[in-house]
């Protein structure tokens, strides 16, 4: 079974620029998560989708971050404009039905300079 795919793996941008990350979850997984992991900290949930609907986006900075899940499959996370404090690893994960575990992608390491 293919895992969760994320791209790009690394991205360096200047502050105030925009950036987008892409995630392809495991086939058939209804739930998709985006997490932000700042160096030395645990992952923080940014947004959770159930199929193509948003379940939780309470910690998403909506003035600069946006996310969508196309047709309940792939997802993109966008930051516009980026700030220095957005430097982090952005992790995408997906899970199947019930109380099953989440599978994580390799993450995208964003550096804002």
């Amino acid at each position: 079974e293919a895992g969760v795919a994320q791209s790009p793996r690394y991205k360096i941008i200047e502050k105030r620029q925009s950036v987008a990350f892409w995630c392809n979850p495991i086939s058939g997984h209804a739930t998709l998560y985006w997490y932000q992991q700042i160096l030395g900290q645990g992952p923080k949930l940014l947004i959770q989708f159930q199929n193509n609907g948003v379940v939780d986006d309470s910690q998403l900075p909506k003035d600069r971050f946006s996310a969508e899940r196309l047709k309940g499959v792939d997802s993109t996370l966008k930051i516009q404009p980026a700030k220095l404090e957005d430097s982090a690893v952005y992790l995408c994960a997906s899970s199947g039905r019930g109380w099953s575990e989440a599978f994580f992608g390799q993450g995208t390491r964003l550096t804002v300079v």
Binding site: Q41, P43, L45, D56, W99, E101, A102, G105, R109
Partner: protein, 115 residues
């Protein structure tokens, strides 16, 4: 609010000695509990999972965890540490959130293995 507490932010052991990483969670209905491991510059990998079948769960690389409902604990153990076990470990609990489940992470425990 639901919470997951990892009692030690850093644990240091010598190679060949036992490992104990502690995790407690707030009391609420959750039939699943997970431990994930993250090696430097790598994604999160599932180490083991509890799914109500047995209270003692075996995972990969010789790790085990015991679910104790009365103590709301899910501590991770390994009889003999290996250098390759050095990594960050996260206890994760899916709590109900409306019709969905929200994964709640502990703050993580950094395991150092000394030669």
């Amino acid at each position: 609010a639901q919470s997951v507490t990892q009692l030690d932010s850093h644990v240091s052991v010598s190679e060949g000695t036992p490992v104990l990483l502690r995790c407690n969670y707030s009391s609420s209905y959750s039939p699943s509990l997970f431990w994930y491991v993250q090696h430097p510059n790598k994604g999160l990998q599932l180490l083991l999972k509890y799914t109500s079948a047995a209270t003692l769960v075996k995972g990969i690389n010789g790790f085990e965890a015991e679910f104790k409902k009365s103590e709301t604990s899910f501590h991770l153990t390994k009889p003999s540490a290996h250098m390759s076990d050095a990594a960050e470990y996260f206890c994760v609990v899916p709590f109900p959130s409306g019709s969905a489940r929200q994964l709640t992470f502990g703050s993580g425990t950094q395991l150092t293995v000394l030669p």
